[in-house]
Amino acid sequence: MYQVGIDIGSSSAKTAVLKGGEIIKTILLDTGFSSRKVADEIYAMLEAEGITRENAGYVATGYGRVSVPYADDTVTEITCHGKGSYFLFRENGTVIDIGGQDTKGISLKNGRVMKFVMNDKCSAGTGKFLEVMTNRLGLTPEELSRLARKGKEITISSMCTVFAESEVISLIGKETPREDIAFGVIESVVNKVVSLLAQVPNDRYFLTGGLCEDAYIIGRLAKALDAPVSSLPLARYAGAIGAALLCK
């Protein structure tokens, strides 16, 4: 029996397939315009490998969870990221999930969610903020981090993504080096995330979501939190893995 977890986020759709407690497959797709379409695409890809309704259970999570017609159940990304992280890291602590539209802090005890915080409707401190800024600077996310390493202290004071973008535009206008702006952009995200996490403090943190392979951001988070932050390449699938684990 296969356990399939599908995490349809605002930017990407992640799928994890488990069998006998082992992750045997992961799929990463862009969510694109239609959650429904990407859900169908995932089903077809799995079907091609012999994973079908006959031999698999499906649990959907993420904001597009309601658009997976073949899901047996839907569970929120908070529960799934908590469960998936505990599976990956085998430790209690606070999970930091920086998603495309939300950032969450999830505190785990005995592998269970004890408390969580989530940004309100504002996109400060989320993947969306980074996306807007990298686009404005004409960079890829990897380039942004690489440049930031060489950057000097610059503070982007606006929390609001729209205002912060104007601030970045005026920095560009003043010919501020891109490295410095990149540094400021990442610090802004780190600071916002850390202030959100103040409500779920811990001595140990795990980063999940799309930034899980960005060593620079992980390092800056650890410094700002003054505590170890771990991540794994598979951590971007934490939500999908958690969902798969919840398949009956």
Binding site: I78, V113, F116
Partner: protein
């Protein structure tokens, strides 16, 4: 018969709203008097004794907010904006046809809004003390209530006698007891009904003319629910997580918060806002020598976050958590409501002491954050 004019935009209204207007118009044209009010501090017995119907005008809809923001700042509580907006746009029949509005100084936003509202509709503002604690607080409030009584007597050319006040106090007490019965039905496992039903019953009941009609509507609901339970009806899943909903007045978020809780594996077993058990369990001493004083004393007892300090509210919620076997506490704070927002810290501490999971939601009447609110509520219930 008095002839009354309908709002200028009446023809553009949808049928349900037109019907509402015509019903109120008819009531007033037939000699009925109507007063609008906002808050549980309003001494209802005074209006009952004067033979005047009193209706709650607390705005609970997002609809008139954009218009209200032409006058009021955006960053203000949605209840205040909505209440003002209904008067400003002439879309609420009760606001439109009432003789006057009774406001109170329960928060700075409302207090200042009433000054502007007074330009649209006469607004009489009751001045609340800042706290119940001072020796003379009850005297201040008594003087306020007496002043309102004198105002009413003069305005309507009547005498509000002690006998009438006593009778009104008795009827209001009976109504409160029925309301308590309605709340207590939720104590069963599983509760007798979804709380969104209770919320709708209470909200609709407020729009009856007079205490008797309101009482009858609540009584009918209690009887129907009891009968359904006796016949084996179980409208709520036994495994549903039992939620106590506290914080700001919640009628404006029945859909966004109430229904979301109840559609995601939860059930609200205790409505712990100012219209709930915390307030309705307080009765007026019907046999007091000075009945007006007994009425004013009862109202000043109310635990509102505007009072400093306000331990009574927190302690009452602690008791409610036990009585209703709450699995979790959700606190709903309306955007820009500083008093409840700050006080939420004390509520959270109490929940931690009791070992009950707590979550605060800060929101308004719009749908902009519905997705995030749903994720938060669903995750909270999954966590329980």
């Amino acid at each position: 018969m008095e002839t009354l004019e309908l709002p200028k935009s009446f023809d553009e209204f949808v049928d349900a709203r037109k019907a509402g207007f015509l019903k109120v118009k008819e009531y007033v044209e037939n000699g009925g008097h109507l007063v609008g009010m906002f808050c549980s501090y309003t001494p209802l017995e005074l209006f009952d004794a004067a033979g005047v119907s009193v209706v709650g005008l607390c705005g609970t809809s997002n609809e008139p907010i954009a218009d209200a923001e032409k006058v009021l700042p955006k960053n203000l509580c949605p209840l205040i904006k909505s209440s003002y907006g209904f008067a400003y746009t002439e879309k609420c029949p009760y606001t439109y046809f009432c003789d006057f509005i009774v406001g109170e100084t329960t928060c700075d936003g409302k207090k200042k809004m009433f000054e502007l509202l007074n330009d649209i509709k006469e607004t009489y503002v009751l001045h609340l003390p800042q706290s119940q604690k001072r020796e003379y607080a009850k005297d201040i409030w008594y003087q306020e209530i007496k002043l309102l009584k004198e105002y009413m007597e003069k305005r309507y050319g009547i005498e509000i006698t002690d006998e009438k006040l006593r009778e009104a106090a008795h009827k209001r007490n009976e109504l409160r007891k029925t309301q308590m019965e309605l709340y207590t039905l939720q104590g069963a496992v599983p509760p007798a009904m979804k709380a969104t039903e209770v919320m709708s019953t209470l909200a609709q009941g407020m729009f009856n003319f007079g205490v008797d009609a309101q009482h009858a509507s609540y009584k009918a609901k209690v009887d129907a629910a009891k009968e359904a339970v006796a016949n084996g009806a179980k409208p709520v899943d036994e495994k549903a997580k039992r939620i106590l909903l506290t914080g700001c007045p919640s009628t404006g978020v029945i859909q966004k918060v109430g229904m979301t809780i109840e559609n995601n594996g939860g059930v609200i077993v205790c409505l712990d806002d100012c219209g709930g058990e915390r307030t309705q369990k307080m009765l007026v001493d019907e046999n007091a020598d000075n009945i007006l004083r007994a009425i004013s004393d009862r109202y000043l007892e109310i635990h509102c976050s505007v009072m400093t300090t306000n331990e009574g509210r927190i302690e009452n919620t602690r008791e409610m958590c036990k009585k209703y076997k709450a699995d979790g506490v959700v606190e709903m704070v309306l955007q820009a409501c500083h008093t409840f927002n700050v006080e939420s810290n004390l509520m959270q501490k109490m929940c931690e002491e009791e070992g009950i999971p707590y979550m605060k939601l800060e929101t308004d009447y719009s749908t902009t954050d519905s997705g995030q609110i749903e994720t938060r509520i669903a995750a909270f219930i999954e966590m329980l």
